[in-house]
Symmetry: C2
Subunit: 136 residues, 2 copies
């Protein structure tokens, strides 16, 4: 069903300070930066092998990541698993009765197609399914 961990999403208060940590201390390469209005974040992707770290800074306190930061502080926000056929994966998940936040895929960072599962269906873990764009 899943090929690999696509990324972990990390909620941060200061995006540039976080980028400095991951680039300079962890020697990860920053490969993408984008404002994702639909998710209310400014986000970057850093490469770690075939996986990524996605740093997420909220565009306002009212966004989901803004509320997460206010409640829990900076830290791991979600995990994303990679699939090469997100429609098939969503059908498979629905067939097992898995509660979804997104019934249909939507556009995510770097032209990926994404869908979130409901944390109540995944043991408290906010879980995202990602089909990367053909270029990545």
């Amino acid at each position: 069903m899943f090929a690999r961990i696509d990324h972990i999403g990390v909620a941060v208060e200061d995006l540039d300070a976080a980028i400095a940590l991951y680039e300079q201390t962890y020697a990860m390469e920053l490969v993408h930066r984008e404002t994702v209005q639909a998710q209310g974040v400014e986000a970057v992707l850093l490469d770690i092998g075939e996986n990524h770290v996605e740093l997420l800074a909220p565009l306002s306190p009212e966004t989901p990541v803004g509320k997460f930061l206010a409640k829990r502080g900076p830290g791991i926000h979600h995990v994303a698993y990679q699939t090469d056929d997100i429609e098939l994966t969503l059908r498979q998940l629905r067939s097992t009765g898995t509660r979804l936040i997104d019934e249909q895929p939507r556009v995510g960072i770097r032209d990926s197609r994404v869908a979130f599962l409901h944390p109540s269906a995944s043991g408290g873990v906010l879980t995202e399914i990602v089909q990367p764009s053909k270029e990545h």
Copy 2:
């Protein structure tokens, strides 16, 4: 410095229920189960490509994972990055002034060698460095 995400560590209250979710709903293969007394957990590893999900059930409420569950409930506990030379990686991290929980590697799950960074050094993210055993 890091080859890939080795695993995400997920704190769970009911290990068998969590295993059922990851095996049956997410079609991940359980490849290892172990009681890690030094970390106060019963843990399993499931494969997802070259990455893993590590499910962690506390041996008692007084353990780090037990306290995490009491405070935050089930969810992502830590991320682990893989290296093929943990001594070199720790030297590199020390040279940048990174605060470590483990100054020296210790034995982790499945005969790996592991060290934890201090969350204050990694933007609130509990971060583990893992050198897998030669068999894995």
